[in-house]
Chain length 237, copies 2
Amino acid sequence: MQNANIAALTFDAFGTVVDWRGTIVREGAAINERHGLAVDWARFADAWRAEYGPSMNRVRSGAIPWSNLDALHRLSLDALLDEFGVDCLSDREVDDLNHVWHRLTPWDDAVPGLTRLGRKYVLATLSNGNMSLLVNMAKRAGLPWDCVLSAELARRYKPDPEVYRMAAAYLGLRPERVMMVAAHHGDLRAAAAVGLRTAFVHRPLEHGPGAEADPDDTTAYDIAADDFKDLAHRLGA
Amino acid sequence: MQNANIAALTFDAFGTVVDWRGTIVREGAAINERHGLAVDWARFADAWRAEYGPSMNRVRSGAIPWSNLDALHRLSLDALLDEFGVDCLSDREVDDLNHVWHRLTPWDDAVPGLTRLGRKYVLATLSNGNMSLLVNMAKRAGLPWDCVLSAELARRYKPDPEVYRMAAAYLGLRPERVMMVAAHHGDLRAAAAVGLRTAFVHRPLEHGPGAEADPDDTTAYDIAADDFKDLAHRLGA
């Protein structure tokens, strides 16, 4: 791969940079303890994440007006708390739980890998998470972004092409000078379709230790990396 | 002033964080040397900056369609090069000169002051500079923003109220939890009008050593600071 001309890397967040499932399970355990509950938070996290695609599709289809991800998460959360029989949380506690997505912890290699990559490239998020979610996540975890870009700025969700085009335009770069980094094939395919370069990063633990990882056919991408340190190595950073 | 509830600071860039005039004069001197010219770059910088307001007004009035600041700077630059009789620059050199605004150097107190402030507050730009200009400026100068916000995201220029409202909304904060920091009264008055807190920072050298500073009536603001270190001190950071 020729990468001499790449100027910026844009990163998917959930699953690629941060461990949404592990964080929800950890915060959920504290809620169980505080309230004497026995909720299976791994199952809860999976169910919450399973609502992610369908909830964005409701925006995409026009069934509901534009709503940022905090709002979509909250709609799903209210339904799930009901489904899991959790009725003891105050409004404030539910709000705080919804904001667990602002507090997701990065994979161990994320901060050191990004720090290396940042010496050579402009680093931006390109996530369906809303701006405040991404800003709060980065502030807490020390993620060294040069720029926070969100689907919220385009009022469209990935994998709609407008989101990737917006990122290149705001970065002042032609699409081929931007590389999308993600652990998800759909994200990378959509980025490639509008001319971005692509780097797949393996995140076998995204869906938990027992889950099947995303299948391994990564031949379509410019790079397939084991983690962000490996990505830095492959990009000469 | 009660500041316990402030969560984020938004910063004007040109003049407040970075020294546009000094940078243009310095880069201009190199152009003079390279091409054997005798252009008065201080006068050139002042003339270029004087076109800033009128060029945004042409967008505001609808006389020209939305154009980001790089595009407005370039229109002014082409006219000024003509006016100053500079006709020896290649297209590439003119383009590079236009991008001097991406390379502006910060005032000496900016990076250390921001570094202190960042321990306590979310720090964002809120500038009329376009996103790529602000990202490139920060990357080069090491400005530790948590978030780059630009008038470009609202497709309106400050002091239009939409720009300040947009910043608070993307940061997920009520306006009174956001403090606008600027060396310019018009910017702060407009921010206050939509409910933001305000901090004036004195930048007596913005228009050069001989120029008159912005008059000193700062009684309307929550804070008036000598520089960013003083601002950090006053905000308990």
